[in-house]
Structures are given as C-alpha cells and as structure tokens.
C-alpha cells in the first residue's frame, strides 16, 4: 500500500487540510494509507516530506461537514485529521452519514467540535484585557490567555466585532492576535510576562465580584463546572474564591443568628393607588380575577341609545383594559362603518368583565365563560344598562343574549327579530364577531356577515327612532374576510380572537 503523507501549514490549517483531503478522497485513497503532519510540529523531528497529491478533481465537501471540520480541526487531539478524513471518505459512500450521531466516527467528531466550541466560548468569556498607556495615543488593551485548543484564529474575530474601536492584542503561548483599529494580524506565541500584570480597574472588579456573591448559597461544584479550574490562573477575580468560600458559612450563620431589625418602619413613605372598594377593578365575585390582568369595563357615553354587549374581553382587551380592541373588535368596527354608526356614540361592553382563558405555552386559549361567571358578573352589566338606559341592546353571541335577556336565546333562532328583556327593553340578538372569524367556508362567512350587518342595521334603526322596518334582504355588503383584508388583518391565531 502506498502511503500518502500530508504536511499542513499549522495545527488549525483548515484550508490546507480540506484541499488535500478532498483530492485524496476523490482518488479513493483509504484512510489507513494517509499520514497527517503539521509543519512546525514535525520539521525539527523528521522533516516529513509531503507526497504529491493525486491529480484528480477534488470531491465537494458538504456544508454540514465543513461546519463540523471547521471546529473539530482546531482540537488538540492528534487524531483529528485522520478522524475527519475517515468521515469525508465514508461520506462518499454514505451521504447521510453525518446525521447519524450514533455512529462512532460521527459521535467522536461531534465531541471534538463541541469541546472546541466550548473552549472558544470560554475564551470569549474569560479573556481579561489590561490597559496599556501609550505616549500620545489612545491606550491599548492587552490580554494573556491560555486556551486548551487551537482556537485563536477562530475566536479573534469575535473580539474585533466587539472592540473594533479599541486597539488590542491577545497573547497566547501558541500565537498572538493583534487589532490596530483597522486590521487583524496574527503573530508568534508569547509568554505571560509579555502582557501587563495589572490594571487600574481590577480592584473595582474584585469589589464587584466579592459583593455580588451571596454567602448563603454556596454551590461550588456548579461554579467549577461552568468556570473550570484550568482557567482560574488568568482570572484576577479567582484569587477571591478560596476566602469567599471559607468565610461563607460563618457569614450566613451570623445573618441567621442576628436578631431581627429593631428599627421601626418609617411613616407612610409611598401610598400606592389602590382600587376603591366596590369598584369593578376590585371585584372578586368569581375566580376569573386571579388569572386575568384586569377587569375590562364598558366604554361609551352614558346617554348612548345603542348598547352593544359581547361575551367577555379577549387577549388584547385584557392587556389594554378596553373592550373590543382585538381582532373581533376590528371586525365590529368594520361593520359599524358599513352601517354608518359612529363608535363614539354607542356604549360597548361585555357580559363578563374578566378574560376566561386556558394557558397554552405562550398563548391563551379563549374559554367560554360558565353560567356561574355570567351570574357573578350580572350586577355589573345590570348597573351599566340601568345607567345608560339605551333604546336598544344588541346582544352578540349566546352568552350575551342569555345575560341580557335572562333566558336561553340561541342565536340562530333569535336573531333578526326584536325581542324584549324582563324590563321590556328592546333587544336584538346576533352573531358574535369572533364566531364570524372562526367560520371556515367562504359561503358560511358570507351568509353570517350579511346577517350580522342586517342585525346591526336593525338595532341602529331602532336607536335612531326610524319607523321599524323588517330587515332588508342581504345586499352586496361583501365578505368578512375581504372586510378584514381591507383593514390589513389576516390570519388570526387560533383561540386568541377577542370576544
């Protein structure tokens, strides 16, 4: 078997490695037949001679492999070049190989990549710059850092993005990175004494470190797993760790043993604005207040002739504390506009004043209020009706119809007529706009939208005192989806529509 020897330009020479590996794989050279060396590591020993690469078209390494190799190649493990070549070689026969993390080679390469990514991340965290004054120029910042893997080139651009307007150098045993404000260059390795040994801010940083620590919560293992001991020698704050741990228990015991404060509370310092007792905002008549943001009162003039009652506030109404500001409210606005009703002249409210919902992840699913909720809330609704004394009430949806009429009134059977409540007020029942939004077929929506507009028109005519006419047959009022689209409203999240 002919052996192939490849000599790379450096321990993190991804370009050189890829160029060689892609040709060797194209020529079908078996992984066992390739020997990988790094120039600076071998030159003084044997002076390994590179073999000529096969004169073939290189294979294309897939992006997922490049991403993996970019990290894994920076690992300190000497076997990394051979491992990655074996993967590239096997990929030619098994293109989906990389997704199989149960495979030994894939798993090993992923571990190397993970180690490198972690070392890189820790470098972005644990580099500590020290300021160096420069005659007649802005100060420079210099850091000494000892990474575990060959990550300097991989990580230096992070510091450039962060500190582009600073002049800085990062020195490591294997190499150094320099940013002069315009260009990033790499140089030779350095020694610890090449970096400054102090900084004027370090005492303050240590003050902060010591005081942000809570001695009542010692979790030393947790600290060590996230800030491994190997990094401590270059972290100025690490000098405090031992004394802080040593004194922690005694400090906590002192806090526990010290008698409680004797100083009396000062006089009234700040009086929060509390909800007045008897106010809707203080209502605890049913359990809904516990989950809702706030009670949503009705809104509109006290002398409105038309009152519209919905079911309950929705997600948006709950946040804003105003009725009909969510998607259903926007559909209602569109209907009001088409019928020619000024929203400012009518009174809008709901049968239930708190939002009833079920938490689902980061969303709230609307739940129909129970009879008990409606019952508990009815004094508020009655008070609104008594105050406003409207000429007509439009009850939207079955819950509102029941709350207003005091009896069951299914919408399909009740709508389109003038009904009367127990005090002989005129009531028109119609669909709830949120129900319109939930209909699925275009035809259903068209019919329901026309009915909704007709019912609204009927209530409006009563409120205006026009001679009572039976509702006209449906006219080309369009379609709720078009109405919404015209207002820039499209898909609605399931269950979040305001009611």
């Amino acid at each position: 078997m002919t052996r192939h020897s490849v000599v790379l330009g450096g321990p993190d020479d991804l370009g050189g490695w890829l160029a060689a590996a892609a040709r060797l794989a194209a020529a079908g050279i078996a992984p066992e037949a390739v020997e990988w060396n790094v120039r600076e590591e071998t030159a003084s020993l044997f002076g390994a001679e590179p073999s000529p690469l096969p004169a073939v078209e290189p294979v294309a390494a897939p992006q997922a492999f490049r991403d993996l190799a970019r990290l894994a190649l920076c690992h300190g493990d000497r076997e990394r070049f051979a491992l990655l070549y074996r993967l590239l070689f096997r990929l030619q026969a098994t293109p989906g190989l990389l997704s199989n993390r149960a495979d030994g080679d894939v798993s090993r390469a992923q571990i190397l990549a993970k180690n490198v990514a972690r070392d890189r991340h820790k470098m972005t965290a644990f580099v500590r710059f020290r300021e160096v004054a420069r005659e007649g120029e802005v100060p420079a910042f210099v850091a000494w850092f000892e990474p575990e893997h060959h990550i300097l080139r991989l990580t230096a651009p992070f510091f450039v993005r962060r500190f582009a307007s600073q002049v800085f150098s990062i020195l490591t045993p294997a190499g150094s990175a320099h940013w002069d404000g315009t260009a990033l260059t790499f140089g030779r390795g350095a020694a610890r004494h090449d970096a400054p040994d102090g900084d004027r801010l370090e005492a303050l940083w240590l003050t902060y470190y010591a005081n942000i620590f809570n001695p009542a919560r010692l979790k030393v293992d947790m600290m060590k797993s996230e800030m491994p001991v190997k990094y401590w020698k270059n972290l100025p704050e690490a000098a405090l760790i031992t004394p802080l741990i040593r004194d922690a228990r005694a400090r906590m015991q002192t806090m526990i043993a010290t008698p409680a404060a004797t100083r009396p509370a000062r006089g009234p310092g700040y009086a929060p604005i509390a909800e007045p007792a008897g106010d809707l905002s203080a209502c605890r008549a049913c359990p809904l207040h516990a989950m809702a943001t706030q009670a949503v009162p009705g809104s509109g003039p006290d002398d409105a002739r038309l009152m519209i009652v919905g079911e309950q506030p929705g997600d948006r109404e709950d946040l804003e504390g105003k009725p009909f500001v969510g998607p259903a409210g926007q559909l209602l606005d569109e209907a009001l506009r088409r019928v020619g009703i000024d929203r400012n002249t009518i009174y809008l409210t709901n049968a239930v004043k708190h939002f009833h919902f079920e938490p689902r992840g980061k969303h709230r699913l609307h739940k129909t209020p129970t009879r008990a909720h409606v019952q508990a809330c009815s004094p508020w609704l009655r008070a609104e009706i008594t105050t406003v004394e409207p000429d007509v009430i439009l009850a939207m949806g079955a819950t509102a119809a029941r709350a207003v009429l005091g009896r069951e009134a299914p919408v399909r059977a009740s709508r389109g007529h003038v009904l009367h409540d127990a005090e002989h007020r005129r009531v028109v029942v119609t669909w709830h706009p949120a129900a319109l939004l939930r209909l699925t077929t275009r035809e259903e929506k068209r019919v329901a939208w026309a009915e909704f507009l007709a019912d609204l028109r009927l209530a409006h005519e009563i409120a205006e005192g026009s001679p009572f006419t039976s509702p006209e047959p449906t006219n080309p009022d369009g379609h709720p989806a078009d109405a919404l689209a015209a207002r820039g409203i499209s898909g609605l999240p399931a269950g979040s529509a305001g009611r």
Binding site: R161, T258, Q294, E320
Partner: protein
Amino acid sequence: MPNLDIASKLALLADAAKYDASCASSAAPKRSSLGADGKAKGGLGSTEGSGICHAYAPDGRCISLLKILLTNSCLFDCAYCINRASSNVPRARFTVEEVVTLTLDFYRRNYIEGLFLSSGIIRSPDYTMEQLARVARELRVTHGFRGYIHLKSIPDADPLLLEEAGRHADRLSINIEMPTEIGLTKLAPEKRLPNIRRSMGGLRAKIEDAANERKASPRAPRFAPAGQSTQMIVGADAASDVEILQTSVGLYSSYRLRRVYYSAFSPIPDASAVLPLKPPPLMREHRLYQADWLFRFYGFSLEDIASATRGGMFDTGIDPKLAWALANRAQFPVCVNRASREKLLRVPGLGAKVVDRILVARRHGRLDIEGLKRLGAMVRKAMPFIEAADWQPGATLDGERLAARFRPPPAQLELFG
C-alpha cells in the same frame, strides 16, 4: 447619605442587587462595532444572540452583567428585601455618570456583557424610572454602547417613561415577587398585584406592537427586543410548588415572558422579623426550575407536573421528570426505535436535544444502548424506562426499589437544604 468613594458605593449597591437572580444576556438583536466594510463604526460593543457568562461566583450564579442598583434607598418596606425602608443597611447612590463610566470601563476589559440596572424607589416611581432610563440613553446615544442593557421597570411609572426605557434597553423586567396575591399583600404592603399585572400587560403590548411595526418597516424603533422576564421569591410565603408553577404558567401565557426566575428566599443582613431566617431552600428552587423546563420544552401540562408532587410539593430527592415517570409507570417502557417525539420527551435521562438526535439517528438503523450513549443520553437513568435494540427493562420497571435507586443518600441532601 455619606459621601462615599466609588468602591464603597459599588460594594453596597452590588450587594443590594444580588437577590435578583436574572443575569441573562441573551436574545438581543445582533449588533457589531465592525461595519460591513470591515471598518470600526465607532462606539463600543456587540451582541451575538446567545449571552456570555464572564465569571461565576462560588454561589454558582453566573456573572454576565454588571448588576447594580442606582440607589438602595427605598420608600417601600417589602419584608423580604435587604433595601426595605425599615432596614438599617447603609445607603448609597450612584450618579448616572458613575454608572455609565463603570459600565464602559468594565466592558472594555471584557469583564461583562453589559448592564442590569435596578433601583430602590426614591421620591416617586416616575422619578426613579426616569433616572434608570437616563442611564440607558446615555450609554446608547452618547457613548454608542452596543452591549446588553436590562432595566428593571417600576410598575407604577408613567408609560411614556417605559417607552423611553424600552427604546434603549434590550430587556425589561418587573418582579411579580410573590406567587400569590395574599403573600404579596402581606410582605410587600406598597405593591399591588393588579398594578404589576397591568404593567406586564402593557409591556407585552408594546413589545409586540414594536416587533410588528419593524416587520413592516425595518426603521421602526425597537422596544425591548429581548422581551421581558420576572422573578418570584420561593420560601418566604406559604405557597406550594404547584401554586408557584400555576402562577408561572399564567404569566408565561399572558405576558409571553422569556423567563420566570425563582429565587430561594435567602437570609439577609438586618432581616425583618416577619420572615423565616434559615438557609435558602436551594434544592426546592432547583426543582422548580426543572419543572418550569418540563412545562416549557417537554410538553408537560400543569396537571402532569402536579401528579409528580405530593400535597403540591416536589420530592427534593428526585427530579420532577423522574418523579412523574415513577408515578406514571404504566406509560413505560417507551421504545426508542418507534416512539413519538412526545413520548420520548417524557423519558427520564433523555433531554430534548438527545430526543431530536434519536429521531434522526434511528433512520439509519435500530438504536442500541451503546448508540444511545453516543447520542448523549443518560443511559443509566433511562434504562428502566426504555426498550432498545438490545435492551428490555423486564422486571426493573415494576421493582419496588426503583424509586430508592435514584434517591441520593440522605447526607448529600442536607448540603442543599
């Protein structure tokens, strides 16, 4: 207030801030000090999505941000708080300029990702909020600071001041403080749950409106792009674990919080007589975080989580996922080669990442125990609950001693309280 030097102020105002658990610096929009042309843009700092923890203290908490109070003077008298009006702790106050300089100086040396600024309530909520917002504006506008900024929001402050704060801050937070309204009323007499909820609701509305406007026009101003979070104190009142999580679940869904932080009530110097002075319930806090994750990432409902408790409290000896599995053994074993993602997520020892790897890897062939190890599964923990190509749990699943097997020896527990 005595005239203190910066170091003395920092010592007091960092000490006063450490009871806020959050130090996250994640989820900010990407920012760089390097232009697309490869030249420095001026200003300082960057954010790249995930946060960086620049140090860890021996309490196991990360130090990512400079977490300080503007002042520890406070009009409020919340029993659990070191800074309450009736405490005898020495008081200090930073100027806006001092906070700005300290943040920039620390940031230049790569000590921190940015600033988490909170404050005692001085003069009025509006005055306090205005001061906090001014620090953020100075950093962003005057100094071109692109690092992370988290501001504590004062619930009763004017919405216009919150607007200003959200324009410059990546994250805003309002602490819910207590799991129940009864607890809050008792321990924080000046705070009102409805005001806290309304403020959170207002923040959510602003955050979403700003995000929607930016979709329409990339030049629209940002508002707290890294969202809002909150914190609950655990163990200062009588609320059970299930009550605490119930509150969290409601908060996540209502206000789309990025995080709810749980903070074990910790003894403080010069403590109030109302509260239990004992070591903080750290293991309880840990179990709550684990349960919070089960709810957010593993498809567990509140009812599922409650079924893993006794009288509403988790067994601190075993984690909630394992507790659920032990209480619901009929759901197991789960076959790693056939089961759905939902089923796999319920298996103790299989994290969400490992589950996703299983789903991909099993297309290549049947998985055995060795393969699962390579995928990163905690095999020893998972084995009683799974079937694999070369493994059947057999009688172990029904074994009397299954629960005992996972329980640490009692001595180890004591360390965690």
